[in-house]
Symmetry: C2
Subunit: 221 residues, 2 copies
Amino acid sequence: MRTEAVEDYLKSIYLVQGELGEVTTQVLAERMEVSAPSATGMLKKLAELKLVKHEPYYGVTLTPAGRKIALEVIRHHRLLELYLAEALGYSWDKVHAEAEKLEHHISEEFEDKIAALLGNPVTDPHGDPIPAKDGTIPPQNTVRLVDAAAGEMVTVTRVAAQDAAQLNYLGSLGIRPAASLTLVAKAPFDGPVELRIGNASHHLGLNLARQIFIRLAKPRR
Amino acid sequence: MRTEAVEDYLKSIYLVQGELGEVTTQVLAERMEVSAPSATGMLKKLAELKLVKHEPYYGVTLTPAGRKIALEVIRHHRLLELYLAEALGYSWDKVHAEAEKLEHHISEEFEDKIAALLGNPVTDPHGDPIPAKDGTIPPQNTVRLVDAAAGEMVTVTRVAAQDAAQLNYLGSLGIRPAASLTLVAKAPFDGPVELRIGNASHHLGLNLARQIFIRLAKPRR
DNA sequence: TTATTTATTTAGGTAAGGCTAAACTTTTTT
DNA sequence: AAAAAAGTTTAGCCTTACCTAAATAAATAA
């Protein structure tokens, strides 16, 4: 059965796979805020449903069927995030929590209607790509701010943080998709980065800075 | 705990109470599409939670706490119905099913935002009253079309049908809130009613006709 | 007023999805 | 290569909300 829990696990498996390359029981359990045995139990169930391949003691991978569901749920989530921001005036730090609940309950008609209303968008308010209905994922910029060279002027493409407090802080500094900034300096030994945004200068810890993706403002060629 | 099932039962108890005056296990079970023992079980649970008073073998009534939850859920439902119709262009026969799922999952912020966007409306697309946040219910017109006198010209205030096919049919005849029509005749022995809407004349079975509420187009005084 | 029908509740069971404690693998350290 | 640590799974339980079958209570009919 395609329960809410099943959808949530598949979504997390997909996302963890993308971030870490492999999906272990423990990491999944942490993401789901659930005990490890609970995760094991669900993985067994998902395997029976042919939604994942589970190699006991090694990890899981999604089957095509599982991946399809994961992408549908992620599409719902990100479309909702954008809709809440655009149509209802939600601030970007609040959209995640609301979308998290609604993503499981909207119909295909609802999905289609908000997608059309938003002009079939390809990114959500954080710059995360919105999977298309056919499972295609729009190309995304994967350059991290922390990998740019000091002195470079860049445009923010994506802020991968989920936490409301972090987003709120970054937003207050003007760091959001489409913002322009200059990477002034990177302190050594995994130290903070210094940014210039307009006339203001800010120092960001690495944990935050690593969540920021960019493209060069003036691409070299 | 305030689970989805709890909310649904409380909502049904409230509505059945309003329609029939008393709420028996069997009627409730039918509404919820559940076996009678299941309903009994839930009533016991709701009684433990102090949300209803359950007199075994006689029926239930809501406590103030139970009534409060019921009204919140109904407010969500009807606000959503109107929002879906107004903001997303849903037809009135589709709003019920979608609202039925979403009503349990929207936050108070979502509720407030759509209420404000809609101008704090007092009725949904079917003419059902939307309870206010404080639990107040807007005054509603309780005159039934079938109780009007033949020959009278009336304005539809409410169409209480939930079924999509019925709503679709009534809509196709032009019968919806704010529509004007004339009750041409009522056939005897619980026969159908004849209506004139614009230039067209229609014959409606009693089951349908009883769902229509009206006010007199030219109130006598 | 007793018998029958109807409504309701009790008894016992199922499936999801969670939990802790204990057992077992795999990996890492010494 | 053996011992310790870390990660994973199994075993056994709990809660929610449903079910069917059987028992009981109330209402109706004979």
